[in-house]
């Protein structure tokens, strides 16, 4: 056995540090710059948005593009539609996932193993697989072009993983907390709401963020199940700005920025809950 446990030399140590900083810097630039660029462009005066050469740092900023977007396009309607659908889906998914997660953790449910597999299989369904049957089904029962239709379609993307997350989180709440309340005469329903549910708050936050991002992101399903312009979501509406010969870069950059800003705020304020949602596979 050779004994060459030489200490790491200071140069090699700092070389590793240096490489780390360079690579981390490049990574940050690659992921942050395009986002910065669209935000900056959306704030440039109409005449300067396509300027040549482009300026990367400027204080000549204005909200003109946003004002045009809000006053002369249907964007406000799309914003309202997306907001209604997103809030509706968060409410629906969260309440269903909490009920399912609690019941699956606290009761012996037959076939729960198959149910677990079913949830994960449904989580893998790509939206395009659901779009065609939804279109036909929603048309025949008359809920195409309705908030209900879009929310149900979105819930198919958010409910499986959300149920899975809540199922895992309820297992972290010891049943003994609830048992001591039952002895004092509290009902099962009350202990669920007042003891178990507050105990899974990080899970609830993770599910809410995940569900938000499903509805806020979705293009495919909304595009397939709606045709009425009054039901257009922001994601579907923005596509119209890219159609046709002349692209309206002012409207487009401002509209995209409005879609981008809420996720950025979420990432910087609730990062740990986003990661909770992701750690579901450890």
């Amino acid at each position: 056995m050779s004994k060459k446990s030489k200490p790491v030399s200071p140069e090699r140590y700092s070389a590793r540090k240096l490489i780390t900083y360079v690579l981390a810097g490049v990574t940050t630039a690659v992921f942050a710059f395009p986002v910065y660029w669209i935000l900056l462009s959306s704030l440039k005066p109409v005449g300067r948005i396509r300027e040549w050469p482009p300026s990367f740092i400027t204080l000549d900023l204005t909200l003109d593009n946003y004002i045009t977007l809000v006053t002369s396009t249907n964007f406000p309607q799309w914003f309202v539609n997306t907001t209604i659908v997103t809030v509706g889906n968060i409410f629906l998914t969260l309440s269903l996932a909490i009920c399912a997660g609690y019941a699956l953790t606290r009761y012996e449910i037959p076939h729960s193993k198959n149910l677990a597999r079913g949830l994960l299989l449904a989580y893998m369904f790509p939206p395009v697989l659901l779009g065609i049957p939804y279109f036909v089904l929603f048309n025949s029962i008359g809920i195409n072009n309705s908030y209900l239709g879009i929310v149900l379609a979105h819930a198919s993307l958010s409910l499986p993983l959300s149920t899975w997350i809540m199922w895992q989180f309820f297992q972290t709440v010891p049943i003994s907390w609830e048992e001591s309340a039952w002895i004092c005469g509290a009902s099962r329903f009350r202990t669920m709401l007042e003891i178990a549910v507050p105990g899974v708050f990080p899970g609830i936050a993770a599910v809410a963020i995940f569900t938000f991002s499903v509805s806020w992101n979705d293009f495919t399903l909304a595009y397939m199940v709606t045709s009425d312009p009054s039901m257009t979501l922001m994601t579907v509406g923005l596509r119209d700005f890219m159609q046709g010969g002349r692209i309206l870069w002012g409207d487009l950059t401002a509209g995209a920025s409005i879609l981008i800003i809420p996720p950025i705020i979420l990432v910087f304020t609730l990062n740990k809950y986003i990661l909770e949602g992701f750690s579901f596979r450890g």
Binding site: K4, T27, V35, R106, I260, L275
Partner: protein, 309 residues
């Protein structure tokens, strides 16, 4: 009656309440579970089964379904557009997933190092994954635009030439790299989470025994991240093969069908040619791939054990 007796009898009384409550609560469990299960069946399982049913019908027009047996499938098998879309879908999946895995694992390894601002960088890289696909398309259309794009400005001032990024030769590349810009973070997140759960003492022990950084990677890091890499690879292949939104928004499958994958073809057949049956047949074939992927997932990773207390 002594005080201890009252307490004891109260506990016994409550225990009996508890046990009857338990019996009732079995019912409570089912009452809680049935709405989510019902909705889950209606919105997830039923539509997939309905799509399979639809694929055996000629769905010209929505409410008039005529049973045509396997005709949609047999005509697809002899349809050149189907096979070219199939292979373009495979190429798109392999190309984008290769980019995502190489950069995803690489970035995860860099972000696993301890350095100043590590948390800030880990947060910043999350942004592209959470912003909507439509916004990703706007961002890259804006940067890669033929006339006013930043990239062509840079190219023109350095090599004196502009590139048509969404022309026939470049469309698949531009699309794949822009899609990977968004989805690489999924790989980074899951691999980084696993890296951070590796016991640091293993590295210390390897160091003391004189293992080089390369050996430390092979002997400590790799065995720990191997299974998560396989899982991420599987999921990303399934999702990229079936991707619709980013392709449709960037290129609508063009130019000249060079980026028409099965997902795009299914959309075109169903919503543009109004052949819902053919569209459903294509998505049913895609579903078979999802099913195969999930079987590998269930057999190899046994994910259901994570929720079985």
């Amino acid at each position: 009656m002594s005080r201890s007796e009252t307490i004891a009898s109260r506990i016994i009384k409550n225990l009996s309440v508890l046990s009857t409550d338990r019996k009732d609560s079995k019912l409570f469990g089912y009452a809680l579970l049935s709405p989510p299960i019902l909705i889950f069946i209606i919105i997830s399982l039923f539509p997939i089964l309905f799509a399979i049913y639809l694929s055996f019908h000629s769905g010209l027009g929505v409410l008039t379904l005529n049973h045509v047996g396997l005709e949609n499938y047999t005509s697809l098998m002899s349809d050149g557009a189907f096979w070219s879309s199939f292979w373009i879908g495979i190429i798109f999946a392999l190309y984008t997933v290769t980019i995502q895995m190489v950069f995803g694992v690489g970035i995860a390894l860099v972000l696993n190092e301890n350095f100043k601002f590590a948390n800030l960088v880990r947060t910043i890289v999350l942004v592209p994954y959470l912003i909507p696909t439509v916004a990703v398309v706007v961002i890259w259309n804006w940067i890669l635009d033929q006339n006013v794009g930043l990239m062509n400005y840079v190219l023109e001032s350095t090599v004196g030439q502009t590139v048509s990024f969404f022309g026939e030769t470049m469309a698949m590349h531009s699309l794949s790299w822009a899609a990977s810009w968004k989805f690489t973070i999924f790989v980074v997140l899951l691999v980084l989470a696993r890296l951070q759960s590796i016991d640091q003492q293993l590295y210390e022990a390897a160091k003391i025994n004189g293992a080089s950084p390369y050996r430390r990677f092979i002997d400590v890091t790799w065995p720990n991240i191997k299974s998560i890499i396989l899982l991420v690879l599987l999921l990303r292949l399934i999702w990229m093969f079936n991707r619709f939104d980013i392709i449709w928004l960037f290129t609508e499958g063009g130019p000249f069908d060079s980026t028409t994958t099965l997902a795009v073809l299914a959309y075109e057949r169903a919503f543009i040619s109004l052949q819902y049956g053919t569209g459903a047949a294509i998505t049913t074939i895609m579903f078979v791939f999802v099913l195969l992927g999930s079987i590998i997932y269930f057999v190899k990773f046994k994910p259901e054990e994570e929720v079985m207390a």
